[in-house]
Symmetry: C2
Subunit: 406 residues, 2 copies
Amino acid sequence: MRILIIGAGGVGSAAARIAVRRSFFDALVIADYDAARPAALVAELGDRRLSAAQVDAGSSESVADLIRAHDITHVLNAVDPRFVLPIFDGCFAAGVTYLDMAMSLSARHPERPFELPGVKLGDEQFARADAWERSGLLALVGIGVEPGLSDVFARYAEDELFAEIDELGVRDGANLVVAGYGFAPSFSIWTTIEECLNPPVVYERDRGWYTTEPFSEPEVFDFPEGIGPVECVNVEHEEVLLMPRWTKAKRVTFKYGLGDEFIQVLKVLAKLGLDRTDPVTVGGVEVSPRDVVAACLPDPATLGDKMSGKTCAGVWVTGTGKDGSPRSTYLYHVADNERTMAEYGSQAVVWQTALNPLIALELLAAGTWSGTGVLGPEAFPATPFLDLLSAPAPAGYGSPWGIQER
Amino acid sequence: MRILIIGAGGVGSAAARIAVRRSFFDALVIADYDAARPAALVAELGDRRLSAAQVDAGSSESVADLIRAHDITHVLNAVDPRFVLPIFDGCFAAGVTYLDMAMSLSARHPERPFELPGVKLGDEQFARADAWERSGLLALVGIGVEPGLSDVFARYAEDELFAEIDELGVRDGANLVVAGYGFAPSFSIWTTIEECLNPPVVYERDRGWYTTEPFSEPEVFDFPEGIGPVECVNVEHEEVLLMPRWTKAKRVTFKYGLGDEFIQVLKVLAKLGLDRTDPVTVGGVEVSPRDVVAACLPDPATLGDKMSGKTCAGVWVTGTGKDGSPRSTYLYHVADNERTMAEYGSQAVVWQTALNPLIALELLAAGTWSGTGVLGPEAFPATPFLDLLSAPAPAGYGSPWGIQER
């Protein structure tokens, strides 16, 4: 297996730091628009299988050329979701396996944005699924932590724990704090605005996909391992588009534990139009207000050593257990920033995201996972994934997951 | 009297619209950095006493040259407070009377900004008071509505209503709404951020001036004439610096009826650093975040015809009445946007600000008000001002004020 990671930002760098401890691949090229970033990372990691390259992720030709130049077999997209389609198309053109952690972007319904979906997350990728299948190629989409590990949990719940599932409710929450800042998000504010201000999407088997106003159905969810209760609201997220395709759940939701303060911040940004990405003219220059917001905040990838606390990703499954009685179970995975910084030099959120595509690549290398077309993580057997995640190193990744009956 | 108004923005234009109905002056020059703005205003108003000019308000030489070129006797500064000092100095150099509606800016205390004042509002003007007095020149500072009319009310309360004043509490609130906008401030957001995020200043006779955290001492004040209860908080404002110099009040405060929503907005802007005026680099260009916030919002001067509601300025005076018994009285002035738009084509907030310097100029022209040095409105007799404000046109300005015992 010869891997290409596109993007040497927070998640791409964390993936490389995890990869160098594993033996399943022969080569790993890390490419970025700014060639100096992967070059520095490769120099730091000192693994002979690694090399650095330059790429324009907005050009499918640039991506395909790089794949061919390095005899790449598997590409991991680790740039922001604006670049999904050119990378996805470049992989198809070059005939290699594609993996991503966020799917092609949505566009709201032109008339009724808070009732009906317009273009849904991933629609533009699923529209090409037949062509991928006919060519015998695999695109494994949404294989970060959320989407990704959450989808593996959904598969596991359906196969092993439940006879019937009423709801797959993804619940994401954290108690991370950044010392020395009044306000410092632990993940890209650009992406957080995109996720949280887009109309949230909900799935019901009888009704199909529908949307709501932002921040709908607020709920306080009590997260495990000391994180505690956090205010969660509906958010647009890939799981709601993926899980219904491969499970029989009656309802699928994604609620993000933003907390009161973050919800207030996002509401104010929307109210003032500061979430906008189209440029405004200020003193003779043009800028995107959302980019100005990001420029005023510290870069979350650089905050790992000032951060403390834990982040939790998981799925709250309700329905009927295998024994026929009602069941309510939270399957989850927690990353402790102190541990991820000490062991990998990566902050908890990017580390937890980057871990899962590596496990998937290792299962694909072994032939444990295989398939063709555009497939989500729930299209594959869950148990080998969860076993590899939790098994102690060097056999596995040494990061246990949990089950909590509620 | 030959008047120069510097600034043809919202307040300067409203002042010209009010002036053309009065006969006390011989000439009125309206000047702006952009010469097209006063030219259009002069053409529209069609009064032979009016003319337009270009000026650089940041240059005291440019201001003095223009004063001399037009034989000006009185200058009204109607630009934002960053330009107070060059205009103030230009008037001194040219030997004419100066009026403004906002005073020279403050600078926070370098070590204890939320306890002690640093450079206070107006300090740089009062530092030159001796020179003005020795030259027999008058600078009448803070003569808009707040500061301005509020200070006249304070003088009136001390002279006519109270034997002893415990507190002069300026209270400003409105129920203005702008149709078609989720959020649209009725006054310059740049100035509102400046006022509301600077440490509020409070005066106590035993302690002197001191500062607090922003948004301190929240209080719901019930405003008259149908406006109703509004959440008010301490804000840095000129009255707190002016009133103690010419009254014997034991305490002076300024509370602004921002309302919950606006307070939330300002807190979020501060939390994210979007109130900053120093530039950040975004995609290769430099912009001031506060200017970007302003650029995302509609220009309040253009919203008059979409606005409805009333704005109220006043002083809540508590202490001992002339008869020796406890007294609590609110002296106030309300502007109804519907009326100011219909009668003057100006929205309520800028009209209410622009009205008061015209009344002061008319009293100076008549010799009813006179003085030398740097003086606030409370240094002059209040009754003639309030009589001229409320007397029906053509004798007066036909805008009644109110007294409410509470």
